[in-house]
């Protein structure tokens, strides 16, 4: 028995210990530590504020007030018996009046309650007939009530009077007390705050293990967002984000005055470490004054992760880079998913890394060419579009776009078959900056046998394309032999550089059109090139290349120049070629699924060599999906071959095949990075037939490009935000977006500075910006809509001294109108129709204007009709003012004259009327606005 007793004793002790352990386990949470640390920081800041407040407070004033108050208090005491008696009496009166009031109030309330009950009885009695007796009682009670109410109201008045009597005596004392409180207010509030932030025994008890269910001061902080949802497959629940439980300083940036002096310390200093740092963009997010306040959008809406989790790992934090990964492994035992999927967190709900958070913007900001404040997402979307990913991967939002590559239906007119073969072998060999990816000799096809097979496939593809190509048009031979030297000058002057680069390897150069530094090695026929530069749409009706209205001679010169540019190394490279055995092998493999070897042999014997190559070519084009980017004869109705990417950002992790790659974390971003930088690598170590191998080509994306593209892919989710919670575009914004799409598609940014983009070609005009294409600030306000429409349809010369030309894009009426509407919407100008001569210049004002025009020497820079200012360099000339009548908006001119730099930063037009002053005090009483109107009327009456 003693043994059992002993066992019982030790078991009981163990039980108690285990229960204590359990309580501690439940109690010991990281977030409590963080809240404790944060409280300490807050206390420090409050103390600092207290010091500041003390400095600011006028101590002398407080001392004086205290002294006055003490004196006033004294005046009611001995020996001022009279005053004391008076106050005492008044106070007693007030107390009595209050007691009286309470009494009357109680009586009134009691009668009222009986009266209400009686009322119900009367109503009930009436319904059943005989009600006289009850009604009599009711009337009597109602009389009583009126009496009681009267007495109550009298008492109320009595109390007010008594209180007024007291107040009259203590008026000065009350005022002094109030003033003193006011003077001490800030330090009093701060004192209360510091007290709140100090750990006291009471707080220790409230936060103690087990007891902390009552009213702890450390508690989970959350924001509940019933309108946004977390999708748990079987149900959608309102979002609850508890991130602030640890990220306690997220809403507390420093408050600064206009000079940058800190008024209130916040949590954005360099010394503040996570999790306490303020949001890096408080103006845009989190703060209640921002566009995305915390209490409306939460945190996980953008950052993803598990918003309701309160531990580091559960919340789905994701490291930004390898260093952070190493640090986290140490600190939090963070372990990314590996080949065996052994990890402790929910891998579907990981956050976006910091540089990819913008992926979340898209779900609310739809229908926009560029999402504001999301440069990385925009860049990713742009890359996706530029590299034509949508050609193979169907993606919602990218379905109406033109095929990214040129048509191959009449390619034989442009290049030779040998060039095509060499190009297919390795496009970057010819043009390092090309967006055409490489299909052959990649990581899963790099053995000598594979490379031989690749050459045969290239041969087959080229054979098919050239066989199916049909002549499209005729080409004019250049009428002049052309001078390459002149052609080069012309090329660099007329604006070709707005889209094309000539640097071969510079990836930062403008790359809207292909790099042309070796174009002579590509084009087989100068007649083709001549015709192309004169009228690109003749060969390729959908081309984005506009016409620069080159004369025959100019076109001949440019042709001569471009044909002289060669890539010798590429020219010398061997042409890939395949043998008949190899084409047989291709066809055997392709047909083996459905035919016996004997039948294949028989079929092959009946075919000529050419037929075999064509059959193989068709097979290979279908296999590699060339038709996704290029028009290829015979593949007009083929479906793109890639995986649809519309919801790729939500794709289950277990649907991403890591194949034989074990060395990288097995999560989504690593997979996409690997896929984008080495698309075929997941074949590593696999046993596959050639046709089963991965076939995504290699675009040679840099690591940063890959991350941009992943940001875009991550934005393609199946998450749906309710329509009324998405950003809705106004009618005006929709017009702008339509125009932006066109502006981007036609690369207006290549030359013009417009809508936040700097004209790319300006880089070539740093020495003399006056010769660069014009800046388009406020164009919608500046020019008349019909003039702009006509100009876009058929550009007329405004600045004849410029060499660079506004191209003819061949806009349809609809496109030109959309662009006009775009410029007007950008400047918030209402589109209205007006009579042609809606502004009739006042002849008298025009005369005054003419006089001013002379005095201000406007013609010193401005061309007027055929008169150019003498002795000015071309780059210093200003637009022809004789066009003002048809071109400029009459409302715009006076506004422009007042402060040109305000409307167009960077303009060289001087400001004559800055700040409403006038340089000519004698004219029109020196009134600036009248003078500007006079100038306007003069300009609009110049006839051209």
């Amino acid at each position: 028995m003693d043994t059992v007793n002993a066992v019982f004793f030790f078991s009981s002790v163990a039980m108690v210990a285990v229960i204590a352990w359990m309580a501690w386990q439940d109690y010991d949470r990281d977030w409590k530590q963080y809240q404790r640390q944060f409280m300490k920081k807050e206390r420090q800041i409050a103390k600092w504020d207290m010091e500041q407040a003390k400095v600011k407070v006028d101590q002398e004033k407080i001392a004086q007030l205290e002294k006055d108050l003490a004196a006033e208090e004294e005046s009611f005491k001995f020996p001022n018996v009279g005053k004391w008696m008076e106050l005492h009496g008044a106070e007693e009166g007030a107390a009595n009046a209050e007691a009286q009031l309470e009494k009357k109030k109680t009586r009134m309330a009691e009668i009222k309650s009986h009266l209400d009950a009686m009322k119900y009885q009367v109503e009930e009695a009436r319904r059943h007939g005989a009600a006289q007796a009850v009604e009599k009682d009711y009337v009597k009670l109602a009389q009583d009530y009126l009496g009681a109410k009267e007495e109550f109201m009298q008492s109320e008045a009595g109390l007010k009077k008594a209180e007024a009597a007291v107040a009259a005596l203590t008026e000065r004392r009350d005022q002094l007390e109030k003033a003193l409180d006011h003077a001490r207010l800030e330090s009093k509030l701060l004192g209360a705050k510091i007290e709140k932030l100090t750990i006291t025994p009471t707080k220790l008890v409230l936060n103690a293990p087990i007891l902390d269910f009552i009213s702890p001061t450390f508690k989970i902080r959350q924001v509940v967002l019933p309108d946004l949802h977390d999708d748990y497959n079987f149900l959608e629940v309102g979002k609850v984000d508890r991130c602030q439980t640890c990220h306690l300083g997220i809403e507390k940036p420093s408050v600064k005055d206009a000079d940058g002096n800190i008024l209130k310390i916040g949590y954005d200093g360099a010394n503040i470490r996570e999790p306490f740092r303020t949001h890096p963009q408080p103006a845009l997010y989190v703060l209640s004054s921002s566009k995305h306040p915390l209490d409306k959008f939460g945190c996980s809406t953008c950052h993803r992760g598990v918003g309701h989790a309160v531990s580091f790992l559960d919340a789905g934090h994701i490291p930004q880079d390898v260093e952070q990964l190493a640090a986290w492994s140490k600190k939090y035992h963070y372990k990314p998913l590996d080949h065996e999927h052994l990890s402790d967190f929910l891998w579907d709900d990981m956050m976006h890394p910091n540089d990819m958070v913008e992926a979340s913007c898209l779900k609310c900001h739809q229908g926009m060419v560029e999402i504001p404040e999301a440069p990385r997402l925009n860049a990713g979307r742009r890359l996706f579009e530029d590299y034509g990913c949508y050609g193979c991967h169907k993606t919602a939002g990218f379905t109406d776009l033109r095929k990214p590559g040129p048509p191959l239906t009449h390619v034989e007119e442009k290049v030779s078959k040998d060039w095509v073969k060499k190009w297919l072998k390795n496009p970057k060999h010819f043009r390092p900056t090309t967006r055409m990816p490489r299909f052959f000799d990649l990581s899963n096809t790099s053995t000598p046998e594979d490379m031989k097979r690749s050459d045969a496939e290239i041969e087959a593809i080229a054979a098919y394309i050239f066989e199916r190509a049909r002549p499209q048009t005729t080409f004019d031979a250049p009428p002049f032999p052309g001078d390459a030297h002149r052609g080069k000058e012309l090329f660099e002057r007329v604006g070709c550089l707005g889209c094309h680069s000539m640097t071969a390897t510079d990836h930062t150069a403008t790359n809207f059109g292909p790099d042309l530094s070796a174009i002579g090695s590509k084009i087989k026929d100068r007649a083709w090139l001549y015709t192309w530069v004169k009228d690109p749409k003749r060969y390729f009706p959908n081309t984005k290349m506009p016409s620069l209205r080159l004369t025959d001679e100019e076109a001949s010169d440019i042709t001569a120049y471009l044909m002289s540019l060669k890539n010798d190394e590429f020219d010398r490279a061997p042409v890939p070629a395949g043998s008949d055995d190899e084409v047989d092998a291709i066809l055997r493999e392709a047909w083996s699924a459905k035919m016996t070897q004997a039948a294949i042999s028989e079929k092959l014997q009946g075919m000529t060599s050419k037929e075999k190559w064509l059959a193989a070519g068709e097979k290979m084009i279908g296999h590699y999906g060339c038709f996704g980017c290029h028009d290829v004869g015979g593949f007009e109705k083929a479906n793109p071959i890639g995986t649809e990417l519309t919801e790729e950002g939500s794709k289950d992790l277990d649907k991403l095949d890591f194949g034989g790659i074990h060395g990288i974390p097995h999560e989504r971003i690593s997979w996409f990075t690997q896929k984008l930088t080495d698309p075929r690598s997941f074949d590593e170590g696999k046993v596959k037939d050639r046709f089963d191998k991965l076939r995504m080509p290699n675009f040679d994306f840099t690591p940063d490009q890959a991350r941009l593209l992943i940001t875009h892919i991550q934005s393609l989710t199946k998450e749906k935000v309710r329509l009324d919670h998405q950003r809705q575009l106004s009618a005006r914004e929709q017009v702008i977006e339509k125009g932006r799409r066109m502006v981007r598609d036609h690369n207006c940014y290549g030359c013009h500075t417009v809508d936040g983009h700097t004209g790319g070609i300006r880089a070539y005009y740093q020495e003399d910006p006056g010769l660069a294409p014009p800046l388009l600030f406020g164009e919608g306000k500046k020019v008349q809509s019909y003039w702009l429409y006509e100009f876009l349809k058929s550009p007329a010369m405004i600045r004849p001294w410029l060499n660079v030309r506004m191209p003819t894009f061949g806009f349809t009426d609809e496109e030109a109108t959309a662009l006009v509407n775009y410029f007007q919407a950008l400047d918030d100008v209402q589109t209205v129709y007006r009579p042609k001569d809606f502004h009739k210049p006042d002849p008298q004002m025009a005369a005054v204007g003419r006089q001013m025009f002379m005095q201000l020497q406007c013609a010193k820079c401005h061309v007027v009709g055929s008169t150019a200012p003498p002795g000015r360099a071309a780059g210093d000339l200003a637009p022809d003012l004789s066009m003002a009548k048809t071109r400029l908006n009459p409302e715009w001119i006076p506004e422009w004259l007042e402060d040109p730099t305000k409307l167009m930063p960077g303009t060289r037009m001087p400001s004559f009327f800055a700040d409403g002053t006038s340089p000519l005090p004698a004219v029109l009483d020196g009134k600036s606005d009248a003078q500007r109107r006079a100038l306007r009327d003069y300009l609009l009456s110049i006839q051209n």
Binding site: M1, V4, V7, F8, S11, S12, A14, M15, V18, I19, W21, M22, Q25, Y232, N233, F234, E340, L342, L346, W347, D348, D349, D652, D654
Partner: protein
């Protein structure tokens, strides 16, 4: 070391593992007196522990065994071993005593002990100790919470709760209507009918193996071999895609096993007779139907007249037939297993036209 691992992995394949366990089971019952000697039993326990501890050094073994879901199975394995040992040990002692003409142990010690304090105190103590154990368990092994469930993504492998893994293993051999409905029902009715089947008056109130050889053997075969062993197999050896994995093998989702099972009708018509399958299902499945009909309805009367003549006479008609029904159904599982391993048999009867597959 590597070759030992490979050997164990190789042995653990159901085709070897189950017969091996079966042989060990019968050998153990045969030599129950030897193996329940304290020293032998201790050696077996130590051997098992050493095997377990050494195996834990292996990454893959540790991964599977240490899964919070699988910890109870390990405990169950040791507990069922211990309980079986305890009973057989008592039986061995009694059998030996009775051979010497002594009364069983249970009849010897007949001094009175009290409910309080002797029983209740110890029960309470047990409750405290189990409470401690469960609390520590719940602190140290967190509930294995996974991703939110999704109708589009079944976990792989999708496993039943551990106590149903024996049933799930049966699904490898039989269709759900049998493995999920008929057999579980028969397990319950079989357990219910045991008291009515047991006509052996000896061995009540004390442990004895010798006097209840058939009853104990049959029950332990059903429980230890067909229930506990299959749970063990299902827990530790069945991985992604319900493929078999040895205890030291990595559970690779991509592992591919050849699927070559064929039906009895195909064996007979295509392999043996060399004709095609008849188009009429009844004709096609006639052999399987005949076999099953014979197994269920023909075998009991036949055995009653031959091998089990005395047994049948002793049991009486109804009792004999109820017993045979349950016994034959229980044995259908090992029979099907053997047929699967030897002939790649998929179904005896495969009437896919209306999902009647046996």
């Amino acid at each position: 070391m590597e070759s030992v691992r490979h050997l164990i992995d190789w042995l653990a394949s159901p085709i070897r593992f189950l017969p091996l366990v079966c042989v060990i089971f019968f050998l153990a019952l045969r030599g129950y007196r030897t193996i329940t000697r304290p020293r032998v039993a201790l050696a077996i326990l130590l051997g098992a522990i050493i095997f377990y501890v050494l195996s834990l050094l292996d990454h893959n073994f540790r991964h599977i065994v240490a899964k919070p879901d699988n910890v109870p199975i390990t405990i169950m394995l040791f507990l069922s071993g211990f309980c079986t040992y305890l009973a057989l040990r008592q039986a061995a002692i009694n059998d030996e005593r009775m051979e010497r003409g002594l009364a069983p142990l249970e009849k010897e010690g007949s001094e009175t002990i009290f409910v309080w304090p002797d029983l209740v105190y110890i029960e309470f103590l047990a409750a405290v100790l189990v409470g401690i154990l469960l609390t520590i368990w719940s602190i140290e092994l967190k509930a294995p919470l996974e991703q939110p469930a999704s109708p589009f993504r079944a976990p792989n492998p999708s496993k039943a709760p551990w106590y149903f893994l024996g049933l799930q293993e049966m699904l490898v051999y039989f269709d759900p209507w049998l493995a999920g409905v008929v057999f579980p029902t028969l397990i319950i009715t079989g357990l219910m009918s045991i008291p009515y089947m047991d006509m052996n008056p000896r061995g009540t109130g004390y442990y004895s193996f010798k006097q209840r050889r058939m009853a104990i053997t049959l029950y332990l075969f059903g429980f230890l071999f067909l229930w506990v062993t299959l749970i063990t197999l299902g827990t530790f050896f069945r991985g992604p895609n319900w493929n078999f994995f040895g205890p030291y093998e990595y559970w690779d989702v991509h592992k591919v096993q050849p699927l070559v099972n064929i039906n009895l009708s195909e064996i007979i018509y295509i392999k043996i007779l060399g004709t095609g399958l008849p188009s009429n299902w009844f004709l096609r499945e006639i052999w399987g139907l005949l076999f099953i009909a014979f197994y269920v309805f023909g075998l009991p009367p036949l055995l009653a007249k031959t091998a089990l003549k005395n047994f049948a006479a002793k049991m009486g008609f109804i009792r004999y037939n109820v017993f045979m029904l349950h016994f034959l159904m229980m044995m259908l599982l090992p029979i099907k297993m053997i047929c699967r391993w030897l002939f790649n048999l998929k179904y005896f009867v495969a009437v896919t036209e209306f999902f009647f597959n046996i």
